[in-house]
């Protein structure tokens, strides 16, 4: 490949020298995928960032950039269709690891080692030795892994955000709970006192259908008995936290809450997000758990909107889920350092693949990244702090259409805003949320305390490809059943539901993950080692 490349380059050079007149013809088009989050007034295929990149990267390199938009919430299906139809963009990204793995197995994407070596020095520096291996696997079986995709760097790895109503604590004369017992007492007291009116449901709870236990294990892991869990068991049950010894008691706790009316009776109904959002904003709930910056996010500002309805209402971080078998550690799962996966399909010819890598490399240069992520001073943000972090960041509604942007999606080598070092990045997390900076910082601090890295496998585990989606749907059914069943029948229902999940393919998955672990193909943290 190197040879072909150099010949190509030499040819291009010769042609360029010989016939300056045909210089117009050496332009190539680079089609780049970008997510569309349906932000009103923002046309991602004709946005400010595209024009910026065209001017600063495209024009000097004779590359015509085109953005191809994919709806964010169905991107894996859309990308798969495009790949199958040979119409995929030249530079693609996805959060679907299964799809990427299939692309590697089916040999439909460029191997990136040489391209990265030759055209990606800034990109290599940005990702570093820790990140790049996430995109490597040994496809040809020669013992040395090859680079198949570029993993994006996750700036903030925090995933868990637990929030409690400070005004309710004050009304009840309670301290912020630090144990499950104190927390349960708070929920009961809040219900008793009807602090949210007659619609009071202290614990906002719903089933996240795409991955039902993803947001539930943060509670039930507190009951896991780590004296009975080996590192191997932990990794083998990567996708089945309900099967870990002790977790059952966590689900029993949820069942108790349900029957005491502390969890919404409608928790299992799909499309219930709207109702849950409304309940949060109307101040009916005393606790909810989502992402660490959730209460202040501009799209769903639970804090500001709730305080408009209920004066003085205030969400603050809470950390009650202690695990006694780990000496009272409050476990939180956190994301792996690698975010989405970036691939170059083979439908892109060699020159286009080179252009794609050059574009990624250009993106990794700090000043370019800063522009793509923050926009223009005075339009997208008011000014810069001493550390060079923007303050007074405007929400999309307050920015003219031609300057609207989604900060994260266009500069996709970085999942999250990046300002150079960890300290600045952490400080920057709180800056967009004026008036709540201390709350945000406290929330991230809780989220990253006793945090373990989520599990991933650098090899394709066939059973997960085959049964992953089925097992997740079973886990939804499991969760609905064990939380709502008659407490008398809990043990029976729990055991039967576990057996069904195993029969639906979880058994094969556990076996597959165990084999991967034994071969050393695993990433993540075992809390027993923390």
């Amino acid at each position: 490949m190197k040879k072909t490349l150099s010949i190509l380059l030499a040819l291009a050079l010769m042609l360029g020298l010989a016939t300056a007149a045909i210089a117009e013809d050496d332009w190539i088009t680079l089609r780049v995928e970008c997510f569309d989050r349906e932000i009103v007034g923002l046309d991602v295929t004709d946005c400010w960032q595209l024009h910026y990149a065209q001017e600063h990267f495209g024009d000097p390199n004779h590359i015509k950039l085109e953005f191809v938009s994919f709806a964010r919430w169905t991107e894996p299906e859309l990308l798969d269709n495009a790949l199958s139809a040979d119409t995929a963009p030249d530079l693609c990204m996805t959060y679907d690891g299964n799809l990427v793995q299939q692309c590697i197995d089916q040999e439909g994407i460029w191997q990136l080692d040489e391209l990265l070596e030759q055209y990606g020095p800034n990109l290599k520096a940005f990702l570093g030795e820790e990140l790049l291996p996430y995109g490597q696997s040994d496809h040809d079986g020669d013992g040395t892994p090859e680079q198949w995709y570029i993993p994006a760097r996750r700036i903030s790895r925090a995933n868990v955000g637990n929030f409690i109503r400070e005004d309710w604590l004050t009304a009840l004369g309670m301290e912020k709970p630090t144990t499950i017992d104190e927390f349960t007492a708070y929920l009961r007291a809040a219900k008793e006192a009807q602090l949210g009116g007659e619609n009071t449901v202290p614990f906002s709870f719903g089933i996240y259908a795409p991955d039902p236990l993803f947001n539930v294990r943060r509670f039930t892991d507190a009951w896991v008995d780590f004296s009975q869990v080996t590192e191997e068991d932990w990794f083998a049950n990567a996708r089945t936290p309900e099967m870990l010894p002790g977790a059952k008691e966590g689900f029993r706790w949820l069942n108790t809450l349900y029957h005491e009316g502390l969890i919404p009776e409608t928790f299992a109904l799909t499309d219930n997000d709207q109702a849950n959002d409304t309940a949060l904003i109307m101040g009916y709930n005393g606790f909810f758990s989502q992402q660490p910056d959730q209460p202040w996010r501009t799209d769903k500002n639970y804090q500001v909107e709730m305080a408009n309805n209920v004066p003085g209402a205030h969400w603050v971080t809470v950390n009650p889920f202690q695990n006694d078998s780990l000496g009272g550690k409050h476990l939180h799962d956190m994301y792996a350092p690698a975010g989405l996966s970036i691939i170059i399909p083979k439908t892109a010819d060699e020159a286009t693949a080179v252009a794609a890598m050059k574009y990624l490399d250009w993106m990794a240069i700090p000043e370019n990244m800063f522009a793509l992520q923050n926009g223009t001073e005075g339009i997208n943000y008011e000014g810069l702090t001493e550390d060079g972090i923007p303050y007074g960041v405007k929400s999309a509604d307050d920015v003219p259409n031609e300057n609207k942007m989604h900060a994260g999606d266009i500069c996709f080598i970085s999942n999250g805003l990046c300002y150079g070092d960890d300290e600045k990045n952490a400080a920057a997390l709180a800056l967009p949320f004026k008036g709540y900076e201390a709350d945000v910082i406290a929330s991230y601090a809780d989220s990253l305390s006793d945090a373990w890295t989520q599990i991933s496998f650098p090899v394709a585990v066939q059973a997960e490809t085959d049964y992953g989606a089925t097992v997740k749907s079973k886990q939804g059914e499991f969760l609905a059943a064990v939380v709502s069943c008659d407490p008398e029948e809990f043990d029976e229902v729990f055991d039967a539901a576990i057996q069904e999940t195993l029969d639906a393919g979880a058994a094969e998955m556990i076996e597959g993950f165990r084999a991967a672990y034994q071969e050393g193909n695993y990433r993540g943290t075992f809390p027993g080692n923390m």
């Binding site: 259908a209 109904l269 089925t470 609905a480």
Partner: protein, 311 residues
């Protein structure tokens, strides 16, 4: 010498020249079927392949019935199959007679204004997206907070919510009722036009013979639309294995998964979400083959009973 007589030119070119406008009108529908219904059928071959999206259907490896074996071996396949047949059966039993009754009632309406108004109101749900209907169903049938449960609880008629959406059999009943409500108005259209096709002299004769309204309906209207009923029934039986995706997906929830998971949602999960088009195709082919057997069977039975059938 016969050339003086006006004769119909039966040669190929003759009738084509005469009727070419009709054939021209036929070109578009035929092209539609060829391009969008017949050409894609070639794609069923990937049901027998380990489909490689980059090599396409001509370059992928053949695996015979491996995809079928895998799917039939999955534990939730049997639930999906059972629910598909059962929900369609419920829909047929509960939903098939309703448009017939409605059409007859509409036909008997004296006031044209009232008839048009009722028809429009009855058609309306057909044009609502299932997303909207799903929202309405939640508002009406939710435990505790839904319109029905909240009202009954308030009046003290029940002390526990009726699990319209949260217990399997009750969910299936809700699913069926909502489906009947959504489709019944639209279903009357064919019957109404069939009723208009009945010779009015038959009604007059019946009246002269002293038949009352019910007798007219029973002895004139119903026999008059019988061929339409039979054709629609055969077509419905042929659709027993097919089920829409949006209705069960939107109305269903994890609590009743064993009762709401059907072949279309199963395909979406195992085929599309897992990026296995070959498996999705295999299930689709299986459905089509069973559907073909059912519709042929129904047609055969109908002909044996002396009805016209659909071919």
């Amino acid at each position: 010498m016969t050339t003086h007589l006006p004769s119909i030119n039966r040669s190929h070119r003759g009738w084509f020249r005469r009727d070419w406008r009709l054939y021209a009108m036929l070109v578009l529908p035929v092209a539609f079927y060829l391009i969008f219904c017949y050409k894609p059928m070639i794609g069923v071959i990937i049901a027998f392949q380990n489909y490689n999206r980059f090599k396409g259907m001509w370059g992928s490896e053949w695996v015979e019935f491996e995809n079928f074996r895998f799917i039939m071996g999955m534990s939730d396949f049997k639930f999906a199959l059972r629910n598909t047949l059962w929900l369609n059966f419920l829909g047929l039993v509960a939903g098939f007679p309703v448009p017939i009754v409605l059409a007859i009632m509409l036909n008997e309406m004296k006031s044209v204004g009232l008839k048009k108004l009722s028809q429009t109101l009855l058609y309306l749900p057909h044009f609502l997206s299932w997303i909207i209907i799903g929202g309405m169903v939640l508002q009406i049938f939710s435990p505790k907070t839904g319109l029905i449960n909240a009202t009954l609880l308030k009046w003290g008629l029940i002390d526990k919510s009726i699990p319209f959406l949260t217990k399997g059999p009750q969910w299936q009943a809700t699913y069926t009722v909502v489906g009947v409500w959504q489709g019944m108005g639209w279903g009357t259209i064919l019957y109404l036009s069939a009723i208009t096709g009945i010779n009015p002299e038959l009604f007059e004769a019946a009246k002269i013979d002293g038949a009352n309204k019910m007798q007219q309906i029973w002895h004139v209207t119903l026999p008059g639309i019988r061929p339409t009923i039979v054709v629609l029934l055969i077509l419905s039986v042929g659709q027993m294995m097919n089920i829409s995706f949006d209705r069960p997906q939107i109305l269903g929830n994890p609590q009743v998964l064993k009762y709401c998971d059907v072949l279309s949602t199963f395909v979406y999960r195992t085929g599309i979400q897992n990026h296995r088009f070959d498996r999705a195709t295999a299930i689709g082919l299986f459905q089509s083959v069973v559907g073909l057997i059912l519709i042929t069977g129904a047609n055969f039975v109908s002909k044996r009973l002396g009805e016209d059938g659909i071919w």
